[in-house]
C-alpha cells in the first residue's frame, strides 16, 4: 500500500507514471504509483430502450491485473455499468451509449467495437452459476473450441491451468467427464470462473458471483478472486461491502447512476473522501 499519510498529488502520479498509459488518464485518480491502466471509462452515459438513463457521466480507471469493486445500493447502476463492458445491453433494442470505455494499450473504444468481438475479449460470470449441460471438461474448453482450438493436448493443458487457477482442479480432476450440473453450487460457480479464465479474457466481469452461494463456497470463491489479483483485470459488482473490502484493490461507489467516489479500497473503508460514501459504507444511508 502507498504511504497512507503522504498527500497524493497529481504531480506525484504524473512523475511516477513510467508506463505507456496516457498521462492524463492517471491525473484524476488516487492510484498506486506503479498502476497501469487496462481500461478507462470516460463520461459514460447509458440509456435503456425505454429512455431511462441508468448511468450518468461516469468516469473511472480500471487498473491492470487488479480487482476493482463496484459498490452501491440497489438500482444505482452498478450492474448496468458492468454490462456495458461486454455490451450485453446490445441484446435489447433501442439502448444508447455516450462517452467511451477505452481499452489500453490498444486505445480502442469498446463502445465502437463489434459486440461479438468485445464478448470474445471480456469474460463474464453471473450471479447464479450457469454451466452448460455438458461435462466439466467440455464446459472449460467450450470457449476454446469456438475459437477453433481442437488439439487435444492444448485443450487438456488449458483446462488444467484454468481449473487450477479457479481453485477447483483438485476437486474435479478425477471426474472431468462427469456432468457439470452434478457439482455443488459453489463448485459450479468456480467452474464458470474457470470457463471464463480459459480464454484469457482481457477483463473478467463478475456480477455478484457469490450471492447465491453459502458461506463456505463464498469463502472459496473469494480466495480465488484474491488469487487473481495480480494476474487478471477483474471488475466485480457486489452488494456485500465486507466482501468488497476483502477482495478488491480499488473500489468505486455509485449512487443514482453517478460515480460518487473512486478510491483505493483500504482507504475507502477507513477514511472515505465523500460524506455520501461514508454514510453508505457505515450503514447510515437512507
Amino acid at each position: 500500500m502507498t504511504a497512507m499519510n503522504q498527500p497524493k498529488t497529481t504531480n506525484e502520479f504524473a512523475q511516477k507514471d513510467a508506463r505507456q498509459t496516457p498521462r492524463e488518464a492517471l491525473d484524476h485518480w488516487y492510484l498506486e504509483p506503479d498502476a497501469a491502466l487496462r481500461a478507462r471509462v470516460s463520461n459514460l452515459k447509458f440509456w435503456y430502450g425505454n429512455g431511462t438513463q441508468a448511468i450518468d457521466d461516469v468516469s473511472f480507471p480500471l487498473v491492470e491485473k487488479k480487482v476493482t469493486a463496484l459498490i452501491g445500493p440497489s438500482g444505482c447502476g452498478k450492474s448496468t455499468l458492468l454490462r456495458c463492458f461486454n455490451r450485453m445491453h446490445d441484446l435489447y433494442h433501442g439502448v444508447k451509449y455516450s462517452g467511451s470505455i477505452e481499452l489500453f494499450p490498444e486505445n480502442e473504444n469498446l463502445i465502437d467495437l463489434d459486440p461479438n468481438v468485445v464478448r470474445m475479449r471480456v469474460g463474464m460470470v453471473f450471479q447464479k452459476p450457469n454451466p452448460f449441460p455438458k461435462s466439466i471438461y467440455e464446459n472449460v474448453v467450450a470457449g476454446l473450441r469456438i475459437r477453433g482450438i481442437s488439439k487435444r493436448s492444448q485443450l487438456d493443458e488449458i483446462a488444467e491451468t484454468s481449473l487450477t487457477q479457479a481453485a477447483i482442479w483438485d476437486e474435479v480432476k478425477d471426474r472431468l467427464h462427469q456432468p457439470a450440473l452434478s457439482l455443488s453450487g459453489g463448485q459450479q460457480q468456480r467452474l464458470c470462473i474457470a470457463r471464463a479464465l480459459a480464454v484469457q479474457p482481457e477483463i473478467l466481469l463478475l456480477d455478484e458471483p457469490t450471492s447465491a452461494l453459502d458461506p463456505i463456497a463464498t469463502a472459496k470463491v473469494e480466495d480465488l478472486i484474491n488469487d487473481l489479483d495480480g494476474k487478471v483485470t477483474v471488475l466485480i459488482v457486489t452488494h456485500n461491502m465486507q466482501q468488497a473490502a476483502r477482495i478488491s484493490h480499488y473500489a468505486a461507489y455509485m449512487y443514482l447512476g453517478k460515480l460518487v467516489e473512486y478510491n483505493e479500497t483500504s482507504e475507502m473503508f477507513t477514511r472515505p473522501m465523500c460524506q455520501r460514501t461514508e454514510d453508505y459504507i457505515t450503514g447510515r444511508f437512507g
Partner: protein, 244 residues
C-alpha cells in the same frame, strides 16, 4: 473526511447506534474513574490519609474490570457490525484509549502505594515539608486537567482541544525535569531526605506518565475524527491535520 460528533447516532440500525453510544458512555465513565483515582492518590499522599490511599489502591480492580468489559463490548460491535470508516475509527480508538486509561489507573495505584508506605514509615507525612511536594501537586493538577480535557475532547470530537493537550504534554515534561532537578538539590543538601525524595521522584515519574497517556488519548481523538494518524510525528503534522 472528518466526522461530526453526533455522526455515530445516524445509522439505519437503531441497535447499532445504541451499541456505539453505550461504548462511548462506558469509556467516559472509566475515564472519570481514573481521573478521580489520580486526584485521590495525590490527596492521600499530601494529607497522609491511609484510608483514602487504600481505597484508591483497591479502586484499581474496578478500573481493570471496566477495561475488560469495554474491550469485550468493542469486540462484540466488531463481530456484529463490521464497522467501517468513522465507526471503525471510533471503535479502534476506544480499544486503544482504554489501555491508556488503565495505565493511568495503574500510575494512580502506584502513587497510592507510596502514600501508604510513607504513612506507615516513621518519618510520617511529607506534608509540605519539601517544595517538591508542592511541585508534585502542581504537576498532578496539570495532568489531571489534561486527562479531563482529553475525555472532553473525545466526547465532543474536539480536535482543537486534543491538539492543545498534545502541546500541554511538552510543558508537563519540562515541569517534571525541573522538579527532578530540585529534588536532586534537596538530596545533596540533606542526605537524610534521600529515601523520601526518591519516593517523590517515583510519584513525579508516575504523574509524568499520566500526562503521556492523556497525550496518547488526544492523538487517538484526532485519528478518530480526521482519520489521520498523528502518533510519533512532529507536532506540526498534527497541527496541519487539525487546521488544514
Amino acid at each position: 473526511m472528518s466526522t461530526k460528533h453526533d455522526g455515530h447516532l445516524h445509522h439505519i440500525s437503531q441497535q447499532f447506534n445504541s451499541e456505539l453510544s453505550q461504548l462511548k458512555a462506558e469509556f467516559l465513565k472509566m475515564g472519570g474513574m481514573v481521573e478521580s483515582q489520580v486526584q485521590h492518590a495525590m490527596q492521600a499522599l499530601e494529607n497522609n490519609d491511609y484510608e483514602l490511599a487504600e481505597q484508591t489502591r483497591l479502586k484499581d480492580k474496578e478500573v481493570d474490570r471496566m477495561e475488560r468489559a469495554i474491550d469485550e463490548e468493542a469486540n462484540r460491535v466488531i463481530v456484529k457490525r463490521q464497522p467501517t470508516a468513522s465507526d471503525l475509527r471510533l471503535v479502534m480508538s476506544v480499544v486503544k484509549m482504554v489501555a491508556d486509561l488503565e495505565r493511568i489507573g495503574d500510575e494512580a495505584k502506584k502513587i497510592a502505594k507510596f502514600a501508604i508506605s510513607i504513612s506507615e514509615s516513621e518519618t510520617g507525612a511529607l506534608g509540605s515539608r519539601y517544595d517538591s511536594v508542592v511541585e508534585a501537586k502542581h504537576i498532578s493538577n496539570h495532568v489531571v486537567a489534561m486527562v479531563r480535557d482529553a475525555l472532553d475532547a473525545f466526547a465532543r470530537f474536539d480536535t482543537a482541544q486534543a491538539l492543545r493537550i498534545m502541546k500541554e504534554d511538552k510543558l508537563v515534561d519540562q515541569e517534571y525535569k525541573s522538579a527532578i532537578r530540585s529534588l536532586v538539590t534537596f538530596m545533596m543538601e540533606d542526605p537524610r531526605s534521600i529515601s523520601t525524595c526518591l519516593s517523590i521522584m517515583w510519584v513525579l515519574r508516575s504523574l509524568e506518565r499520566v500526562g503521556d497517556h492523556a497525550c496518547n488519548i488526544a492523538e487517538y481523538v484526532i485519528y478518530m475524527v480526521e482519520g489521520e494518524d498523528v502518533r510519533h510525528r512532529p507536532i506540526d503534522h498534527a497541527e496541519k491535520v487539525v487546521r488544514p
